[in-house]
Symmetry: C2
Subunit: 282 residues, 2 copies
Protein backbone atom coordinates (compact mmCIF):
# COMPACT_ATOMS: atom_id res chain seq x y z
CA UNK A 1 0.00 0.00 0.00
CA UNK A 2 1.56 3.23 -1.12
CA UNK A 3 -0.07 6.46 -2.23
CA UNK A 4 1.25 9.48 -4.06
CA UNK A 5 -0.45 12.66 -2.95
CA UNK A 6 -3.19 12.45 -0.29
CA UNK A 7 -5.40 15.47 0.37
CA UNK A 8 -7.15 15.63 3.73
CA UNK A 9 -9.97 18.16 3.86
CA UNK A 10 -10.38 19.04 7.53
CA UNK A 11 -7.38 18.42 9.80
CA UNK A 12 -9.09 18.03 13.17
CA UNK A 13 -9.07 14.94 15.38
CA UNK A 14 -9.84 12.43 12.61
CA UNK A 15 -8.14 14.14 9.68
CA UNK A 16 -5.10 15.15 11.71
CA UNK A 17 -4.71 11.65 13.15
CA UNK A 18 -4.93 10.22 9.63
CA UNK A 19 -2.20 12.56 8.40
CA UNK A 20 0.04 11.72 11.36
CA UNK A 21 -0.39 7.99 10.75
CA UNK A 22 0.14 8.19 6.96
CA UNK A 23 3.32 10.23 7.35
CA UNK A 24 4.69 8.20 10.27
CA UNK A 25 4.23 5.00 8.30
CA UNK A 26 5.50 6.46 5.05
CA UNK A 27 2.32 5.47 3.24
CA UNK A 28 2.10 8.59 1.06
CA UNK A 29 4.55 10.74 -0.89
CA UNK A 30 2.85 13.91 0.26
CA UNK A 31 -0.05 14.82 2.55
CA UNK A 32 -1.84 18.08 1.76
CA UNK A 33 -4.11 19.67 4.35
CA UNK A 34 -7.16 21.74 3.39
CA UNK A 35 -8.97 23.82 5.98
CA UNK A 36 -10.71 27.11 6.66
CA UNK A 37 -8.45 28.40 9.43
CA UNK A 38 -4.82 29.20 8.81
CA UNK A 39 -3.92 28.65 12.48
CA UNK A 40 -5.29 25.09 12.53
CA UNK A 41 -3.44 24.21 9.33
CA UNK A 42 -0.20 25.67 10.66
CA UNK A 43 -0.57 23.66 13.84
CA UNK A 44 -1.26 20.50 11.80
CA UNK A 45 1.91 21.13 9.80
CA UNK A 46 3.91 21.85 12.96
CA UNK A 47 2.71 18.57 14.49
CA UNK A 48 3.69 16.67 11.35
CA UNK A 49 0.18 15.72 10.23
CA UNK A 50 0.56 17.39 6.80
CA UNK A 51 3.40 18.40 4.49
CA UNK A 52 1.73 21.55 3.20
CA UNK A 53 -1.66 23.22 3.27
CA UNK A 54 -4.08 25.56 1.58
CA UNK A 55 -7.38 27.23 2.35
CA UNK A 56 -8.62 26.45 -1.17
CA UNK A 57 -10.26 23.04 -1.66
CA UNK A 58 -9.65 22.97 -5.43
CA UNK A 59 -5.99 23.84 -5.03
CA UNK A 60 -5.70 21.30 -2.24
CA UNK A 61 -7.01 18.30 -4.18
CA UNK A 62 -5.16 19.00 -7.43
CA UNK A 63 -3.07 16.01 -8.40
CA UNK A 64 -4.21 13.90 -5.46
CA UNK A 65 -4.49 10.10 -5.69
CA UNK A 66 -6.67 10.07 -2.59
CA UNK A 67 -8.94 12.74 -1.13
CA UNK A 68 -10.34 12.26 2.38
CA UNK A 69 -13.27 14.34 3.60
CA UNK A 70 -12.78 14.86 7.34
CA UNK A 71 -14.79 17.97 8.17
CA UNK A 72 -18.18 17.90 9.92
CA UNK A 73 -20.49 16.00 7.55
CA UNK A 74 -22.65 19.04 6.81
CA UNK A 75 -19.75 20.56 4.83
CA UNK A 76 -19.02 17.56 2.60
CA UNK A 77 -21.38 18.61 -0.22
CA UNK A 78 -20.22 22.22 -0.60
CA UNK A 79 -16.55 21.22 -0.28
CA UNK A 80 -16.87 18.51 -2.92
CA UNK A 81 -18.55 21.01 -5.22
CA UNK A 82 -15.59 23.36 -4.80
CA UNK A 83 -13.00 20.61 -5.19
CA UNK A 84 -14.57 18.70 -8.09
CA UNK A 85 -13.22 20.74 -11.04
CA UNK A 86 -9.66 20.16 -9.83
CA UNK A 87 -9.88 16.41 -9.16
CA UNK A 88 -7.46 14.31 -11.19
CA UNK A 89 -8.77 11.51 -13.36
CA UNK A 90 -8.64 8.24 -11.39
CA UNK A 91 -8.78 10.00 -8.05
CA UNK A 92 -10.21 7.97 -5.16
CA UNK A 93 -12.32 9.84 -2.64
CA UNK A 94 -13.41 8.68 0.80
CA UNK A 95 -14.62 10.31 4.01
CA UNK A 96 -14.62 9.69 7.74
CA UNK A 97 -18.19 10.82 8.40
CA UNK A 98 -20.53 9.29 10.98
CA UNK A 99 -23.58 9.11 8.69
CA UNK A 100 -23.71 7.77 5.18
CA UNK A 101 -26.96 8.08 3.22
CA UNK A 102 -27.14 11.87 3.45
CA UNK A 103 -23.42 12.10 2.81
CA UNK A 104 -23.76 10.08 -0.38
CA UNK A 105 -26.66 12.26 -1.50
CA UNK A 106 -24.61 15.39 -0.90
CA UNK A 107 -21.30 14.17 -2.31
CA UNK A 108 -22.02 11.81 -5.22
CA UNK A 109 -23.50 14.41 -7.60
CA UNK A 110 -20.16 16.23 -7.47
CA UNK A 111 -17.90 13.22 -8.05
CA UNK A 112 -16.43 13.49 -11.60
CA UNK A 113 -16.82 10.56 -13.98
CA UNK A 114 -13.20 9.50 -13.72
CA UNK A 115 -13.22 9.33 -9.91
CA UNK A 116 -14.48 6.80 -7.39
CA UNK A 117 -16.13 7.44 -4.01
CA UNK A 118 -16.10 4.89 -1.18
CA UNK A 119 -17.55 5.73 2.23
CA UNK A 120 -15.51 5.13 5.39
CA UNK A 121 -16.54 5.43 9.01
CA UNK A 122 -13.77 4.76 11.51
CA UNK A 123 -15.29 3.79 14.86
CA UNK A 124 -12.65 5.84 16.61
CA UNK A 125 -12.49 9.25 18.19
CA UNK A 126 -13.55 10.76 21.44
CA UNK A 127 -15.30 13.78 22.88
CA UNK A 128 -12.07 15.70 22.24
CA UNK A 129 -11.78 17.65 19.00
CA UNK A 130 -9.32 19.49 16.85
CA UNK A 131 -5.76 18.99 15.79
CA UNK A 132 -4.58 19.29 19.41
CA UNK A 133 -6.29 15.94 20.13
CA UNK A 134 -4.91 14.18 17.02
CA UNK A 135 -3.19 10.88 17.79
CA UNK A 136 -0.95 8.87 15.49
CA UNK A 137 -2.41 5.67 16.98
CA UNK A 138 -6.09 6.67 16.80
CA UNK A 139 -6.89 4.11 14.10
CA UNK A 140 -4.83 1.25 15.52
CA UNK A 141 -7.17 -1.54 16.60
CA UNK A 142 -10.26 0.41 15.53
CA UNK A 143 -13.01 -0.95 13.30
CA UNK A 144 -13.55 1.02 10.10
CA UNK A 145 -16.86 0.53 8.32
CA UNK A 146 -16.38 0.65 4.55
CA UNK A 147 -19.43 1.58 2.50
CA UNK A 148 -19.91 0.73 -1.19
CA UNK A 149 -21.60 3.46 -3.20
CA UNK A 150 -23.04 3.83 -6.71
CA UNK A 151 -19.68 5.41 -7.58
CA UNK A 152 -17.45 2.67 -6.17
CA UNK A 153 -16.16 -0.60 -7.64
CA UNK A 154 -14.31 -3.56 -6.17
CA UNK A 155 -10.89 -2.09 -6.86
CA UNK A 156 -11.77 1.16 -5.11
CA UNK A 157 -13.28 -0.67 -2.12
CA UNK A 158 -10.19 -2.82 -1.79
CA UNK A 159 -7.85 0.16 -1.98
CA UNK A 160 -9.73 1.92 0.80
CA UNK A 161 -9.77 -1.26 2.90
CA UNK A 162 -6.03 -1.72 2.42
CA UNK A 163 -5.46 1.90 3.45
CA UNK A 164 -7.23 1.44 6.79
CA UNK A 165 -5.67 -1.95 7.33
CA UNK A 166 -2.24 -0.39 6.75
CA UNK A 167 -3.06 1.92 9.68
CA UNK A 168 -3.87 -1.04 11.94
CA UNK A 169 -7.66 -0.95 11.62
CA UNK A 170 -10.04 -3.83 10.99
CA UNK A 171 -12.43 -3.16 8.11
CA UNK A 172 -15.99 -4.29 7.63
CA UNK A 173 -18.19 -3.67 4.60
CA UNK A 174 -21.69 -2.41 5.23
CA UNK A 175 -24.25 -0.76 2.99
CA UNK A 176 -25.21 2.85 3.66
CA UNK A 177 -28.78 2.07 4.79
CA UNK A 178 -27.73 -0.60 7.27
CA UNK A 179 -24.93 1.63 8.49
CA UNK A 180 -27.24 4.51 9.26
CA UNK A 181 -29.83 2.30 10.94
CA UNK A 182 -27.36 0.49 13.19
CA UNK A 183 -25.20 3.50 14.00
CA UNK A 184 -28.32 5.44 15.01
CA UNK A 185 -28.61 2.96 17.89
CA UNK A 186 -24.95 2.43 18.76
CA UNK A 187 -23.70 6.01 18.44
CA UNK A 188 -26.18 8.76 17.60
CA UNK A 189 -28.89 7.80 20.10
CA UNK A 190 -26.41 7.38 22.99
CA UNK A 191 -25.15 10.89 22.25
CA UNK A 192 -28.67 12.31 22.26
CA UNK A 193 -29.47 10.44 25.48
CA UNK A 194 -26.26 11.58 27.20
CA UNK A 195 -27.09 15.20 26.42
CA UNK A 196 -30.69 14.74 27.63
CA UNK A 197 -29.40 13.20 30.89
CA UNK A 198 -27.23 16.23 31.59
CA UNK A 199 -30.06 18.62 30.68
CA UNK A 200 -32.44 16.75 33.03
CA UNK A 201 -30.30 17.18 36.16
CA UNK A 202 -32.10 19.10 38.89
CA UNK A 203 -30.73 22.17 40.68
CA UNK A 204 -27.98 21.33 43.14
CA UNK A 205 -27.22 17.98 41.55
CA UNK A 206 -24.12 18.98 39.57
CA UNK A 207 -21.88 18.91 42.65
CA UNK A 208 -22.92 15.33 43.43
CA UNK A 209 -22.02 13.66 40.16
CA UNK A 210 -19.49 10.84 40.36
CA UNK A 211 -17.71 8.65 37.83
CA UNK A 212 -20.91 6.80 36.86
CA UNK A 213 -22.65 9.96 35.69
CA UNK A 214 -19.53 11.37 34.07
CA UNK A 215 -18.86 8.20 32.08
CA UNK A 216 -22.48 7.84 31.05
CA UNK A 217 -22.45 11.40 29.73
CA UNK A 218 -18.85 11.62 28.47
CA UNK A 219 -19.90 11.92 24.84
CA UNK A 220 -22.16 14.88 25.71
CA UNK A 221 -18.94 16.91 25.88
CA UNK A 222 -18.46 16.32 22.15
CA UNK A 223 -18.53 19.18 19.66
CA UNK A 224 -22.17 20.42 19.35
CA UNK A 225 -21.78 21.58 15.73
CA UNK A 226 -20.34 18.24 14.65
CA UNK A 227 -23.10 16.29 16.36
CA UNK A 228 -25.82 18.62 15.12
CA UNK A 229 -24.66 17.72 11.61
CA UNK A 230 -24.67 14.00 12.44
CA UNK A 231 -28.17 14.21 13.94
CA UNK A 232 -29.56 16.25 11.03
CA UNK A 233 -28.08 13.93 8.40
CA UNK A 234 -29.55 10.82 10.07
CA UNK A 235 -32.70 12.26 11.59
CA UNK A 236 -35.10 9.55 10.34
CA UNK A 237 -33.06 6.67 11.71
CA UNK A 238 -32.28 8.55 14.91
CA UNK A 239 -35.99 9.13 15.49
CA UNK A 240 -36.64 5.43 14.85
CA UNK A 241 -33.90 4.50 17.34
CA UNK A 242 -35.45 6.94 19.80
CA UNK A 243 -38.78 5.11 19.39
CA UNK A 244 -37.11 1.78 20.25
CA UNK A 245 -35.41 3.42 23.22
CA UNK A 246 -38.69 4.91 24.44
CA UNK A 247 -40.11 1.38 24.37
CA UNK A 248 -37.35 -0.11 26.55
CA UNK A 249 -37.49 2.96 28.77
CA UNK A 250 -41.25 2.44 29.03
CA UNK A 251 -40.72 -1.17 30.11
CA UNK A 252 -38.48 0.10 32.92
CA UNK A 253 -41.04 2.73 33.87
CA UNK A 254 -43.86 0.16 34.02
CA UNK A 255 -41.82 -2.20 36.16
CA UNK A 256 -41.00 0.64 38.54
CA UNK A 257 -44.53 2.04 38.63
CA UNK A 258 -45.84 -1.43 39.44
CA UNK A 259 -43.10 -1.83 42.08
CA UNK A 260 -42.37 -5.10 40.27
CA UNK A 261 -38.90 -5.95 41.61
CA UNK A 262 -38.64 -9.12 39.53
CA UNK A 263 -39.39 -7.28 36.29
CA UNK A 264 -36.80 -4.61 37.16
CA UNK A 265 -34.26 -7.33 37.83
CA UNK A 266 -35.07 -9.08 34.53
CA UNK A 267 -34.56 -5.88 32.53
CA UNK A 268 -31.28 -5.11 34.29
CA UNK A 269 -30.13 -8.72 33.80
CA UNK A 270 -30.91 -8.54 30.09
CA UNK A 271 -28.84 -5.38 29.70
CA UNK A 272 -25.91 -6.69 31.75
CA UNK A 273 -25.74 -9.99 29.87
CA UNK A 274 -25.85 -8.28 26.50
CA UNK A 275 -23.27 -5.62 27.35
CA UNK A 276 -20.93 -8.14 29.00
CA UNK A 277 -21.16 -10.26 25.83
CA UNK A 278 -20.15 -7.23 23.73
CA UNK A 279 -17.09 -6.72 25.91
CA UNK A 280 -16.29 -10.40 25.82
CA UNK A 281 -16.31 -10.53 22.02
CA UNK A 282 -13.94 -7.59 21.59
Amino acid sequence: MHLGRVSIIGVGLLGGSLGLALRRRGLADEVVGVGHRDSTLKEAARRGAIDRFTLDAAEGVAGADLVVLATPVGLFGPLMAQAAPALADGCLITDVGSTKRAVLEAVLPHVPDGCRFVGSHPLAGSEARGIAAADVDLYGGATVLVVPTPRSDDAALERVERLWQALGSRTRRIDAETHDRLLAGTSHLPHLVAAALVNALGDGADALVASGFLDTTRIASGDPALWRDIFMTNADELLAALDRFEATLGAMRSALSDRDAEAVRRLLDEAKRRRDAMLGSR
Copy 2:
Protein backbone atom coordinates in the same frame (compact mmCIF):
# COMPACT_ATOMS: atom_id res chain seq x y z
CA MET B 1 -9.42 8.80 64.82
CA HIS B 2 -9.10 5.32 66.21
CA LEU B 3 -11.72 2.61 66.62
CA GLY B 4 -11.77 -0.57 68.64
CA ARG B 5 -13.75 -3.28 66.90
CA VAL B 6 -15.38 -2.52 63.55
CA SER B 7 -17.94 -4.95 62.11
CA ILE B 8 -18.53 -4.80 58.38
CA ILE B 9 -21.69 -6.56 57.26
CA GLY B 10 -21.13 -7.47 53.63
CA VAL B 11 -17.52 -7.66 52.43
CA GLY B 12 -17.95 -7.00 48.71
CA LEU B 13 -16.51 -4.08 46.75
CA LEU B 14 -17.48 -1.36 49.23
CA GLY B 15 -17.24 -3.33 52.49
CA GLY B 16 -14.05 -5.10 51.46
CA SER B 17 -12.41 -1.85 50.36
CA LEU B 18 -13.36 -0.28 53.68
CA GLY B 19 -11.80 -3.17 55.61
CA LEU B 20 -8.61 -2.98 53.54
CA ALA B 21 -8.30 0.77 54.13
CA LEU B 22 -9.05 0.57 57.88
CA ARG B 23 -6.49 -2.16 58.41
CA ARG B 24 -3.83 -0.61 56.15
CA ARG B 25 -4.11 2.67 58.03
CA GLY B 26 -4.32 1.06 61.45
CA LEU B 27 -7.58 2.84 62.21
CA ALA B 28 -9.20 -0.07 64.08
CA ASP B 29 -8.05 -2.67 66.60
CA GLU B 30 -10.02 -5.37 64.83
CA VAL B 31 -12.18 -5.68 61.72
CA VAL B 32 -14.85 -8.38 61.79
CA GLY B 33 -16.51 -9.47 58.55
CA VAL B 34 -20.10 -10.71 58.43
CA GLY B 35 -21.47 -12.39 55.32
CA HIS B 36 -23.62 -15.18 53.99
CA ARG B 37 -20.99 -17.06 52.01
CA ASP B 38 -18.04 -18.70 53.69
CA SER B 39 -15.93 -18.52 50.51
CA THR B 40 -16.34 -14.72 50.20
CA LEU B 41 -15.42 -14.20 53.83
CA LYS B 42 -12.36 -16.44 53.54
CA GLU B 43 -11.25 -14.50 50.47
CA ALA B 44 -11.76 -11.21 52.33
CA ALA B 45 -9.61 -12.50 55.20
CA ARG B 46 -6.96 -13.79 52.77
CA ARG B 47 -6.81 -10.37 51.08
CA GLY B 48 -6.43 -8.65 54.44
CA ALA B 49 -9.78 -6.86 54.48
CA ILE B 50 -10.90 -8.44 57.77
CA ASP B 51 -9.25 -10.02 60.81
CA ARG B 52 -11.93 -12.64 61.38
CA PHE B 53 -15.42 -13.47 60.18
CA THR B 54 -18.74 -15.09 60.93
CA LEU B 55 -21.94 -15.94 59.10
CA ASP B 56 -23.99 -14.77 62.12
CA ALA B 57 -24.84 -11.07 62.22
CA ALA B 58 -25.44 -10.99 66.00
CA GLU B 59 -22.15 -12.72 66.71
CA GLY B 60 -20.42 -10.43 64.25
CA VAL B 61 -21.52 -7.14 65.81
CA ALA B 62 -20.98 -8.14 69.45
CA GLY B 63 -18.64 -5.71 71.17
CA ALA B 64 -18.28 -3.49 68.07
CA ASP B 65 -17.72 0.27 68.37
CA LEU B 66 -18.75 0.72 64.77
CA VAL B 67 -21.01 -1.39 62.55
CA VAL B 68 -21.09 -0.72 58.81
CA LEU B 69 -23.90 -2.07 56.65
CA ALA B 70 -22.40 -2.83 53.24
CA THR B 71 -24.74 -5.40 51.67
CA PRO B 72 -27.29 -4.58 48.97
CA VAL B 73 -29.70 -2.09 50.58
CA GLY B 74 -32.64 -4.50 50.50
CA LEU B 75 -30.96 -6.59 53.21
CA PHE B 76 -30.27 -3.78 55.68
CA GLY B 77 -33.56 -4.14 57.59
CA PRO B 78 -33.48 -7.91 58.15
CA LEU B 79 -29.77 -7.83 59.04
CA MET B 80 -30.24 -5.02 61.56
CA ALA B 81 -33.11 -6.97 63.11
CA GLN B 82 -30.80 -9.97 63.54
CA ALA B 83 -27.89 -7.92 64.81
CA ALA B 84 -29.79 -5.59 67.17
CA PRO B 85 -29.93 -7.78 70.32
CA ALA B 86 -26.15 -8.12 70.28
CA LEU B 87 -25.25 -4.44 69.73
CA ALA B 88 -23.16 -2.91 72.51
CA ASP B 89 -24.38 0.20 74.26
CA GLY B 90 -22.87 3.28 72.57
CA CYS B 91 -22.38 1.48 69.29
CA LEU B 92 -22.31 3.69 66.21
CA ILE B 93 -23.91 2.29 63.06
CA THR B 94 -23.56 3.56 59.52
CA ASP B 95 -24.06 2.16 56.02
CA VAL B 96 -22.76 2.62 52.48
CA GLY B 97 -26.10 2.36 50.71
CA SER B 98 -27.09 4.30 47.61
CA THR B 99 -30.56 5.29 48.83
CA LYS B 100 -31.46 6.76 52.18
CA ARG B 101 -35.14 7.30 53.00
CA ALA B 102 -36.13 3.66 52.58
CA VAL B 103 -32.96 2.56 54.33
CA LEU B 104 -33.79 4.71 57.35
CA GLU B 105 -37.33 3.33 57.40
CA ALA B 106 -36.00 -0.21 57.36
CA VAL B 107 -33.10 0.24 59.75
CA LEU B 108 -34.11 2.79 62.40
CA PRO B 109 -36.84 0.70 64.10
CA HIS B 110 -34.15 -1.87 64.95
CA VAL B 111 -31.54 0.54 66.33
CA PRO B 112 -31.36 0.06 70.11
CA ASP B 113 -31.77 3.09 72.38
CA GLY B 114 -28.11 3.23 73.32
CA CYS B 115 -26.91 3.26 69.71
CA ARG B 116 -26.66 5.93 67.02
CA PHE B 117 -27.27 5.58 63.29
CA VAL B 118 -25.77 7.95 60.71
CA GLY B 119 -26.24 7.35 56.98
CA SER B 120 -23.23 7.34 54.64
CA HIS B 121 -23.12 7.17 50.87
CA PRO B 122 -19.63 7.05 49.38
CA LEU B 123 -19.76 8.25 45.76
CA ALA B 124 -17.26 5.56 44.85
CA GLY B 125 -17.44 2.15 43.26
CA SER B 126 -17.74 0.83 39.76
CA GLU B 127 -19.61 -1.72 37.74
CA ALA B 128 -17.32 -4.35 39.27
CA ARG B 129 -18.51 -6.17 42.36
CA GLY B 130 -17.37 -8.48 45.08
CA ILE B 131 -14.29 -8.81 47.22
CA ALA B 132 -12.16 -9.51 44.15
CA ALA B 133 -12.71 -5.88 43.06
CA ALA B 134 -11.99 -4.39 46.51
CA ASP B 135 -9.39 -1.61 46.45
CA VAL B 136 -7.56 -0.11 49.43
CA ASP B 137 -7.69 3.29 47.68
CA LEU B 138 -11.37 3.20 46.67
CA TYR B 139 -12.34 5.97 49.10
CA GLY B 140 -9.32 8.20 48.51
CA GLY B 141 -10.48 11.43 46.88
CA ALA B 142 -14.11 10.30 46.83
CA THR B 143 -17.01 12.35 48.16
CA VAL B 144 -18.98 10.68 50.94
CA LEU B 145 -22.45 12.03 51.62
CA VAL B 146 -23.23 11.92 55.36
CA VAL B 147 -26.89 11.83 56.31
CA PRO B 148 -28.28 12.90 59.69
CA THR B 149 -31.12 10.72 60.96
CA PRO B 150 -33.62 10.84 63.85
CA ARG B 151 -31.18 8.54 65.63
CA SER B 152 -28.03 10.61 65.10
CA ASP B 153 -26.53 13.52 67.03
CA ASP B 154 -23.66 15.91 66.34
CA ALA B 155 -21.09 13.69 68.01
CA ALA B 156 -22.14 10.68 65.93
CA LEU B 157 -22.16 12.71 62.71
CA GLU B 158 -18.70 14.06 63.44
CA ARG B 159 -17.30 10.61 64.20
CA VAL B 160 -18.60 9.24 60.93
CA GLU B 161 -17.22 12.26 59.05
CA ARG B 162 -13.81 11.83 60.69
CA LEU B 163 -13.82 8.15 59.74
CA TRP B 164 -14.30 8.90 56.03
CA GLN B 165 -11.88 11.80 56.15
CA ALA B 166 -9.29 9.49 57.70
CA LEU B 167 -9.68 7.34 54.58
CA GLY B 168 -9.01 10.32 52.30
CA SER B 169 -12.62 11.15 51.42
CA ARG B 170 -14.31 14.53 51.38
CA THR B 171 -17.58 14.55 53.35
CA ARG B 172 -20.71 16.53 52.72
CA ARG B 173 -23.84 16.54 54.91
CA ILE B 174 -27.17 16.14 53.17
CA ASP B 175 -30.63 15.24 54.44
CA ALA B 176 -32.16 11.94 53.35
CA GLU B 177 -34.91 13.50 51.19
CA THR B 178 -32.53 15.76 49.27
CA HIS B 179 -30.11 12.87 48.91
CA ASP B 180 -32.67 10.61 47.32
CA ARG B 181 -34.00 13.31 45.01
CA LEU B 182 -30.59 14.39 43.71
CA LEU B 183 -29.07 10.91 43.50
CA ALA B 184 -32.09 9.74 41.49
CA GLY B 185 -30.87 12.12 38.76
CA THR B 186 -27.10 11.73 39.11
CA SER B 187 -26.91 7.97 39.66
CA HIS B 188 -30.10 5.93 39.56
CA LEU B 189 -31.59 7.39 36.37
CA PRO B 190 -28.30 7.10 34.43
CA HIS B 191 -28.21 3.43 35.39
CA LEU B 192 -31.78 2.87 34.22
CA VAL B 193 -31.06 4.77 30.99
CA ALA B 194 -27.84 2.84 30.32
CA ALA B 195 -29.73 -0.46 30.65
CA ALA B 196 -32.53 0.80 28.41
CA LEU B 197 -29.96 1.87 25.77
CA VAL B 198 -28.48 -1.63 25.67
CA ASN B 199 -31.92 -3.22 25.55
CA ALA B 200 -32.94 -0.95 22.66
CA LEU B 201 -30.10 -2.00 20.34
CA GLY B 202 -31.35 -3.54 17.12
CA ASP B 203 -30.26 -6.92 15.74
CA GLY B 204 -26.76 -6.85 14.30
CA ALA B 205 -25.77 -3.71 16.17
CA ASP B 206 -23.78 -5.34 18.97
CA ALA B 207 -20.74 -5.93 16.76
CA LEU B 208 -20.59 -2.23 15.83
CA VAL B 209 -20.40 -0.69 19.28
CA ALA B 210 -17.33 1.44 19.99
CA SER B 211 -15.97 3.25 23.02
CA GLY B 212 -18.77 5.83 23.00
CA PHE B 213 -21.48 3.23 23.45
CA LEU B 214 -19.46 1.18 25.92
CA ASP B 215 -18.70 4.18 28.14
CA THR B 216 -22.27 5.43 28.00
CA THR B 217 -23.51 2.01 29.12
CA ARG B 218 -20.63 1.00 31.43
CA ILE B 219 -22.81 1.09 34.54
CA ALA B 220 -25.32 -1.29 32.90
CA SER B 221 -22.79 -4.03 33.65
CA GLY B 222 -23.38 -3.42 37.37
CA ASP B 223 -24.90 -6.09 39.60
CA PRO B 224 -28.63 -6.41 38.70
CA ALA B 225 -29.70 -7.50 42.21
CA LEU B 226 -27.91 -4.56 43.82
CA TRP B 227 -29.44 -2.08 41.40
CA ARG B 228 -32.89 -3.64 41.65
CA ASP B 229 -32.70 -2.90 45.38
CA ILE B 230 -31.57 0.67 44.74
CA PHE B 231 -34.36 1.24 42.21
CA MET B 232 -37.02 -0.29 44.45
CA THR B 233 -35.95 1.72 47.50
CA ASN B 234 -36.02 5.01 45.58
CA ALA B 235 -38.80 4.30 43.10
CA ASP B 236 -40.75 7.56 43.65
CA GLU B 237 -37.77 9.81 43.10
CA LEU B 238 -36.51 7.67 40.23
CA LEU B 239 -39.88 7.97 38.50
CA ALA B 240 -39.80 11.74 39.04
CA ALA B 241 -36.28 11.89 37.57
CA LEU B 242 -37.52 9.81 34.65
CA ASP B 243 -40.27 12.39 34.09
CA ARG B 244 -37.68 15.19 33.92
CA PHE B 245 -35.58 13.09 31.55
CA GLU B 246 -38.58 12.38 29.31
CA ALA B 247 -39.06 16.15 29.09
CA THR B 248 -35.49 16.84 27.93
CA LEU B 249 -35.65 13.81 25.65
CA GLY B 250 -38.91 15.20 24.26
CA ALA B 251 -37.22 18.53 23.53
CA MET B 252 -34.59 16.65 21.50
CA ARG B 253 -37.29 14.69 19.70
CA SER B 254 -39.20 17.85 18.79
CA ALA B 255 -36.10 19.57 17.49
CA LEU B 256 -35.28 16.53 15.36
CA SER B 257 -38.84 16.00 14.12
CA ASP B 258 -38.96 19.66 13.10
CA ARG B 259 -35.51 19.28 11.46
CA ASP B 260 -34.63 22.35 13.52
CA ALA B 261 -30.82 22.29 13.37
CA GLU B 262 -30.47 25.39 15.53
CA ALA B 263 -32.61 23.91 18.31
CA VAL B 264 -30.60 20.66 18.18
CA ARG B 265 -27.39 22.66 18.45
CA ARG B 266 -28.75 24.69 21.39
CA LEU B 267 -29.68 21.54 23.34
CA LEU B 268 -26.28 19.94 22.65
CA ASP B 269 -24.52 23.19 23.62
CA GLU B 270 -26.46 23.36 26.89
CA ALA B 271 -25.41 19.80 27.79
CA LYS B 272 -21.77 20.30 26.81
CA ARG B 273 -21.41 23.54 28.77
CA ARG B 274 -22.98 22.04 31.87
CA ARG B 275 -20.96 18.82 31.78
CA ASP B 276 -17.71 20.66 31.03
CA ALA B 277 -18.41 22.89 34.05
CA MET B 278 -18.86 19.78 36.25
CA LEU B 279 -15.48 18.48 35.12
CA GLY B 280 -13.89 21.88 35.59
CA SER B 281 -15.07 22.17 39.19
CA ARG B 282 -13.70 18.78 40.26
